[in-house]
Amino acid sequence: MELLLAITIGIVVATSVYLMLDRNALRFLFGLVLLSNAVNLIIFAGGRLTAGAPPLIPEGAYAPVDVVANALPQALVLTAIVIGFGLLAFTLALVYRTFMTLGTVNSDEMRIAEPRDKRQLDESRLGMGKADPEHPATGQEAGI
């Protein structure tokens, strides 16, 4: 089972990386969702797989009687799932807002902070050479 699970994790990771390399921010977002699933699985599997024995202490006992599943990675994954969800919700809002403001979800067309014209970048960013008074700053043109 472990070998198969590892291969499955590899497939999920590969697809999520391929999606995250896309310039479409929505596809990037899908990649993010898949990646957090894959990572959760890795953490979970890292605590070893135990079938049919949840980490519970029976009534009357002070510790689990038989061997039970590893509780620690479960607690970590629980936290990770919730945080992953928070990350996704925020990123989704960001993509949404970006589309409303810029009218695109193509990351190559989001150029306010890093303009395509390299010279403009060098001069305005690094404070070198003569600043062009006609194009003083890069952020103001888009009005945000």
Binding site: V13, A14, T15, D22, Q74, V82, L92, A93
Partner: protein, 758 residues
């Protein structure tokens, strides 16, 4: 220069002024009181500073550090007294005092430190204070440039030196100088000796402005005059000389040491003397004579014989006395006449007799004329150079002869010519300076005469102990004014003759030097600008290369690095086979199905160009994962995963109402490069997971939670207990993250609503 600011009414600089004068004066008296003990032998005191790194704050009191400490505090008193009058009404005078005292503390720490790391820290303090002081007239672009140049050059040298210190500390097994200095033979024989030496000298040469790092020093004259007098002649630039003298018992005495120091020192001395003749601004002339002095000191520390060290230590004191006096004198002249141009100033003697007297005493010492102490310094340097063997003797003698003759000329230019003859017209009518400004130069000039007349005092209290410290062993030191007719005396007389001849024709020499300089293509200062420009262009090029502004590129670089670094480690370690032995026999058909569903779902997300299909496929993956959680005994995780998965699908679907469609899939939309990177990351992740799973498992933590869960936290669901009890802070952090994400999303979404309304 000093008159074009709004004046603030302060008597002698106000409280800041009084404090700044009292501080060095009290310390000077304190060190003077310690002097008789130190003459008998060095002392080490200290406390641990960073014990884990072996850094101690310890002071080494020996002749060398005492000589420097007395110069720093003594000249410091003269300079602060002078500044209180010179700059006391400047609006930013208190700030100036802060910088100056910061420098003074740094310099004292530098010379007194017994720990290499502490020495480095104080070394950097002087660099930073020097930067602030050179750039004190911050509204002048020239000041700012000079300040930055000095900072970058001496700062870089300091960092290089730190490398040398760390290597030396490792070689010697200690950072305590008092112990390192005992290990000279071991260090000199060590294979890393050459590296240590070069790194140390990089620091010393930049700080003490040896050619080819000399150009920052003349530029540093952009600082107010008291600063030039203090930092850039008497104290800070001697930091490098101090370091070489200090390290002499550990690093000195080898051929490399001898030749590097004598050659660089000699070239610096003569080059600087010639450049001094070229200048018309007296302050610039003096700046170059300082370079000459630093070159000579370097040369003689390199020469390393007993007489050379005695000569160097004598000249160190001699130079500090006369150079500080001359700089302060120039400040008075500048203040009184409004110019520092050697071709304009004439006949100041009648208007400024006291200034003239101070200048005369100092210049006589600089020219090395008896009975001034400068004569003794020069005699000992000649004696030392003649005592060297072979080519070294010729080289050092020629260099010191040329430098001394040129020094004679410069002494005449700065202190004789401006005071002789008829009073010339100057921007403001010449008048005598006030007493706080005159006190320093007069006392320093008088000391030059006093030590010349009573050389035994200088020899017994300062030069002797300092020589012991530099040589690392005790030799008798006897300074004298009259040593009989010998080769050194004859050379001295020849020096005077050559100097007098040169002085008579120095104006035509200056004109010729100016013409030569105009044609000379080698300009270190311009070269510095080119180096900086090149550096900036390189930074811009590199930034353009890395910061392309394309998110895709960043992601590709990040993922490729992961593949190359982790995959490469696997290749090197040959660890790919680690997890392949894990049994696959006991896989239940249900498990097969779930895993196949997860894989198929994620592939479908990539494959589809329909947003809804993608969202549904993501849901399949998520639910598949939660089924795995259920199968392997994690019901709580599975429930959470299910809830979150539903929420994700709902949220993304909601967003889809507004967001654009995915682009249609086409042959062109497949990216082979991306697929390769993605496959690489997938494969490496699989192997990583397998490696983790095939490593023996350490259950200690888990056992702790299992046994402590009920007795300590009274809970039977161990996962819950961990979340709300043992790792409650973690959970609190998690809640905070989610709350922040919600707030952030809210802010983003509210912004859009308002925008639409308007």
């Amino acid at each position: 220069m000093t008159d074009d600011y709004p004046k603030v009414d302060r008597v002698m600089g106000g409280p800041a002024g009084w404090i700044s004068i009292a501080f060095p004066a009290v310390l000077f008296l304190y060190f003077l009181g310690l002097l008789p003990q130190i003459v008998n032998g060095p002392q080490v005191h200290g406390i641990d500073w960073v014990p884990s790194l072996g850094v101690r704050f310890s002071v080494l009191l020996d002749g060398l550090s005492m000589t420097f400490a007395l110069l720093i505090t003594g000249i410091g008193t003269a300079v602060t007294l002078y500044s209180a009058r010179y700059l006391g009404q400047h609006p930013q005078y208190p700030r100036f005092v802060c910088y100056l005292l910061m420098f003074m503390v740094g310099m004292l720490g530098l010379v007194l430190a017994d720990n290499l790391i502490a020495l480095f820290v104080f070394w950097e303090v002087t660099t930073i204070a020097s930067y602030l002081l050179i750039g004190f007239n911050a509204d002048s672009a020239k000041s700012r440039r000079s300040a930055l140049q000095a900072l970058l050059l001496t700062g870089t040298g300091g960092l290089v030196m730190l490398g040398g210190m760390i290597i030396l500390g490792n070689v010697a097994g200690t950072f305590e100088l008092s112990r390192i200095l005992q290990m000279g033979d071991m260090i000199r024989a060590h294979p890393w000796y050459m590296g240590i030496l070069l790194l140390f000298l990089a620091g010393a040469f930049t700080k003490s402005a040896q050619v080819p790092f000399h150009f920052w020093l003349p530029n540093a004259m952009a600082a107010p005059t008291p600063v030039s007098a203090y930092l850039h002649s008497a104290t800070m630039v001697k930091g490098g000389v101090f370091l070489m003298a200090r390290m002499n018992p550990a690093l000195g005495g080898t051929d490399a040491w001898f030749w590097i120091l004598t050659i660089f020192g000699g070239i610096t001395a003569v080059f600087a003397s010639v450049m001094a003749l070229r200048q018309t601004d007296i302050k610039q002339t003096l700046a170059y004579t300082t370079l000459m002095a630093l070159g000579s000191l370097t040369m003689f520390i390199g020469a390393g014989t007993h007489y050379a060290i005695v000569g160097a230590m004598t000249f160190l004191v001699v130079h500090s006395l006369y150079k500080a006096a001359l700089f302060l004198m120039i400040g008075i002249v500048d203040h009184a006449t409004g110019t520092r141009d050697a071709t304009v100033l004439r006949g100041l003697w009648k208007a400024m007799p006291l200034t003239g007297a101070a200048a005369g005493l100092a210049a006589l010492s600089m020219a090395g004329i008896p009975p001034m102490v400068g004569f003794i310094g020069k005699e000992f340097m000649y004696k030392a150079s003649l005592g060297l063997g072979g080519f070294g003797a010729i080289w050092v003698t020629v260099m010191i002869f040329a430098a001394s003759a040129l020094m004679f000329v410069t002494g005449g230019i700065v202190a004789l010519k401006p005071f002789r003859g008829e009073l010339a017209d100057t921007p403001t009518p010449a008048h005598e300076g006030p007493w706080p400004m005159l006190a320093g130069p007069l006392v320093l000039g008088a000391l030059s005469l006093f030590f010349g007349l009573v050389p035994g005092v200088l020899g017994h209290y300062l030069v002797g102990p300092a020589t012991h410290a530099v040589e690392g062993e005790v030799h008798e030191v006897h300074l004298y004014l009259w040593g009989g007719v010998n080769m050194a005396l004859i050379l001295s007389l020849l020096t005077f003759l050559a100097g007098w001849l040169l002085y008579r024709s120095h104006e035509s020499i200056r004109a010729r030097l100016a013409a030569f300089e105009a044609r000379n293509p080698i300009d270190f200062d311009a070269g510095w600008d080119r180096v900086l420009d090149g550096f900036k262009a390189f930074a811009a090029w590199l930034t353009g290369l890395i910061q392309t502004g394309s998110l895709q590129r960043y992601m590709a670089v990040t993922f490729s690095s992961f593949v190359v670094l982790v995959g490469g480690t696997y290749l090197i370690k040959g660890a790919f086979g680690d997890g392949l032995g894990l049994a696959t026999a006991s896989v239940h058909p249900v498990q097969w199905t779930v895993l196949a569903l997860i894989a198929a779902g994620s592939i479908l997300v990539v494959w589809t160009h329909s947003r809804m299909t993608a969202v549904a496929a993501m849901g399949v993956v998520g639910i598949g994962v939660s089924v795995i959680f259920i199968m392997f005994s994690a019901p709580d995780v599975a429930i959470t995963q299910l809830l979150v998965e539903v929420l994700v699908v709902v949220l993304v679907s909601l967003a889809m109402l507004r967001l654009p469609y995915l682009p249609r899939r086409s042959r062109a939309s497949f990216r082979a490069g991306h697929a390769i990177i993605a496959a690489g990351v997938g494969v490496v992740t699989t192997f990583l997971t397998l490696s983790v799973l095939s490593t023996p498992f350490d259950r200690r933590l888990t056992t702790f939670f299992e046994t402590a869960s009920y007795p300590e936290a009274h809970g039977r669901n161990i996962v819950n207990v961990i979340l709300v009890d043992f790792r409650a802070l973690d959970t609190f952090g998690e809640i905070t993250v989610v709350a922040m994400a919600a707030l952030g999303a809210l802010a983003l979404l509210r912004g859009t609503a308002r925008k639409k309304e308007s």
